[in-house]
Structures are given as C-alpha cells and as structure tokens.
C-alpha cells in the first residue's frame, strides 16, 4: 500500500542529492554562516548580500 509513498519519498531525497553538489557553505570569518549556490563551473558562487 505504501509503495507509492516510498517512491515519492525516494524521489524527493534524490532531488536533494542531485543539487547538493551545487550547494556550498559560506563562513564569513566572524560567527556567521550561510549557503551559496554554484553559478558557473569556473568558480563563481551566488549568495545573499547579508551573508557576506
């Protein structure tokens, strides 16, 4: 009965898994921490201004 739930659940986890490689953690050198997204393969990362 819950086979469909497991399929859906695995599909959702797979999406997280897929975007994980494009996700970085940012430290601003003080206490703050935030997330960033890889914009280009050559090293460009976008994030929020308030994080930096």
């Amino acid at each position: 009965m819950s086979h469909i739930l497991q399929q859906m659940s695995d599909a959702m986890a797979a999406i997280v898994e897929r975007v994980r490689l494009s996700l970085v953690q940012l430290h601003n050198g003080r206490h703050g921490m935030g997330a960033g997204t890889v914009w280009q393969a050559d090293g460009l990362i976008v994030t929020n201004a308030h994080v930096v």
């Binding site: 009965m1 469909i4 859906m8 695995d10 959702m12």
Partner: protein, 300 residues
C-alpha cells in the same frame, strides 16, 4: 493524475492507521495531554520528559479507548525522554526502522503522529537535516537525531516520526531546541530507556556551578594557551565546587588538563564515570593562575 493523488492520500491514511495502535495518550499535565510510544509488550511506554508536569497520577490512553494508570519509571530532562509502565495486555509496539537511521536521507517524506486526544492525529513533512552526536543545551547527548519541517501540534511531543514505509524513526519533541521539530533516534532511545529502567535517572557528575564563557586578557591567553575561559557566575551552596573552595568570579581554565573554553567543554567533562573523582581545577583568580583540587559530586 487524480488517481495518483488519491493513491498517495490513501497510502498516507493507511500509514497513520497502521502505526496508531502503538501510540498512546499521556495525561500528566493540566493542559492538553501529550503522546507516547509503546516500547514493548510488557507495558513500557516512552514519552517526552517535558510533557510530564507530575510524577504521580499519570494516565495513559490506548487506541481501544481504554484509559489506565501509569507509573513513572524514570525521566531525563537532558534528552527530554521519560519511561512509563502500564499494566495492560493490549499493547502493540509499532515497527521500528532498523538499523536506526541508516536509510534516512534529507528530503524523505515523514509523518508525525500523535494522540493528544481520543484518536490519532498526523502531520506531514520532510526530513530537513540529519544530525550526529549533539549535546543538548541541558547537557544530554543525542547519538543521532532528525530535524524535520513537520508541524508539531500541541500534544504531539512523545509521539513517533514515521517514514514512508510506515516504520518509526524515533520520538518527536519540540522542547529540546525551541522552535525546532527534533526526533530522537532509536539508538539514543534504547540507551536512555535502558538507563532509566536501571536507575530511574541518568546519573551525571556535578560541580554545582553555572558558567559563562569570557575572553581572557591577552597576556593570560599566551600563558595558558587558550583564548577563552569559563567565568563562574553562580556557585551553589554546599556543592562540590564550594567545598573545593571555588569562588564566584573565578575563571575556569582547565579540569585535569582539559581546556574549558566554552560551556560544552564542561558538560562533556561531567560524565557519569567522573562521579566521586578528584580533579585538578585550574582557575584564574585576581589575575593569577592557580590550581586546586575538587571532588566531583553527583547531580541531585
């Protein structure tokens, strides 16, 4: 398309129905009752510590509608867990996910199920984060935990988090970290339940101080090799700290050569095996570093 949604919907309802016999109502406070999980057929129920406002006259409500008295076996504020016992032949533990959280991934679908009322209630969410070895603000140790975005309705604490296969991943609590829905994983549950069944509480060593991290003056930083220490802001009367001549305003630098940089260092140091041990305490008093001996006690 409608069929797919109906299938999902029916499967969710079936999952709740399958797990609900293993979920009980725990009546131990004036306000709304909370939830508990049947741990074993011999009458053991696990629930959250913070939902028990009283140690006596606790009642537990079963799926059948039957309500019965429960005795408190033990409770531990630091992991927010408690163990109850009921004399009932009608107990059905839910199916636990084994081994532990090995198969759980961020993004997985989960249900929180509770029984604050007569019938089981549920909310739906996903696994937001998986955590390992976390010391709670009150000093408890969680081997593993799950953070979810499930809405914890009042009375949901003590109930299970259920995966898409209908297996229980752990026990939900909204009190360990304010504003967050956390689930204590089965490995921690098993450890704490065993300790509570054996001792009624989790024994922890105790100094009788509350502390606050402070930055040391530059000269001292160099001498002791650390940037921060722990300022003693209270020393309990008759406590091991007072008997060891520690004073309000002393700054704790190290215990048995282990640096005390933040309160977590102290909580980690005060483990069960240090009860009764004599430890060397290095402090700063009046700008001078000095050392004295303190016999560690047991937390009341």
């Amino acid at each position: 398309m409608t069929t797919l949604l109906q299938q999902v919907s029916e499967a969710l309802a079936a999952t709740v129905e399958a797990v609900s016999p293993g979920i009980v109502r725990v009546e131990a406070r004036r306000r709304l009752p909370a939830s508990g999980i049947v741990w074993s057929t011999d009458g053991i129920i696990v629930t959250a510590h913070h939902v028990l406002e009283q140690d006596e006259a606790i009642r537990v409500g079963l799926q059948s509608g039957q309500t019965m008295p429960a005795t408190l076996i033990g409770r531990d504020a630091t992991t927010d867990l408690a163990v109850l016992h009921v004399s009932s032949v009608d107990l059905a533990p839910p199916v636990w996910a084994e081994p532990d959280l090995a198969s759980v991934r961020v993004g997985h679908l989960v249900l929180a199920v509770g029984r604050p009322g007569q019938r089981a209630q549920a909310t739906l969410g996903i696994v937001s984060a998986l955590g390992e070895r976390w010391r709670t603000p009150t000093g408890g140790l969680l081997d593993r935990y799950v953070q979810t975005d499930v809405v914890m309705f009042p009375g949901f604490s003590g109930g299970p988090l259920v995966n898409a296969a209908g297996q229980v991943l752990g026990l939900n609590t909204s009190a360990l970290l304010r504003g967050l829905s956390l689930t204590v994983a089965i490995s921690t549950l098993r450890r704490v339940v065993d300790l509570l069944r054996a001792h009624g509480k989790i024994r922890r060593s105790y100094l009788g101080v509350s502390t606050q991290p402070v930055r040391l003056p530059a000269m001292l930083q160099e001498r002791v090799g650390q940037e921060t220490g722990l300022l003693l802001r209270t020393v309990e009367p008759q406590s091991p700290a007072e008997q060891g001549a520690l004073l309000l305003g002393d700054t704790l630098i190290a215990l048995d050569e282990r640096p005390m940089r933040d309160p977590d260092d102290l909580l980690t140091f005060l483990s069960t095996d240090r009860i009764g041990a004599t430890v060397r305490v290095r402090i700063v008093r009046g700008g001078q570093v000095q050392e004295q001996a303190v016999v560690v006690g047991e937390r009341p």
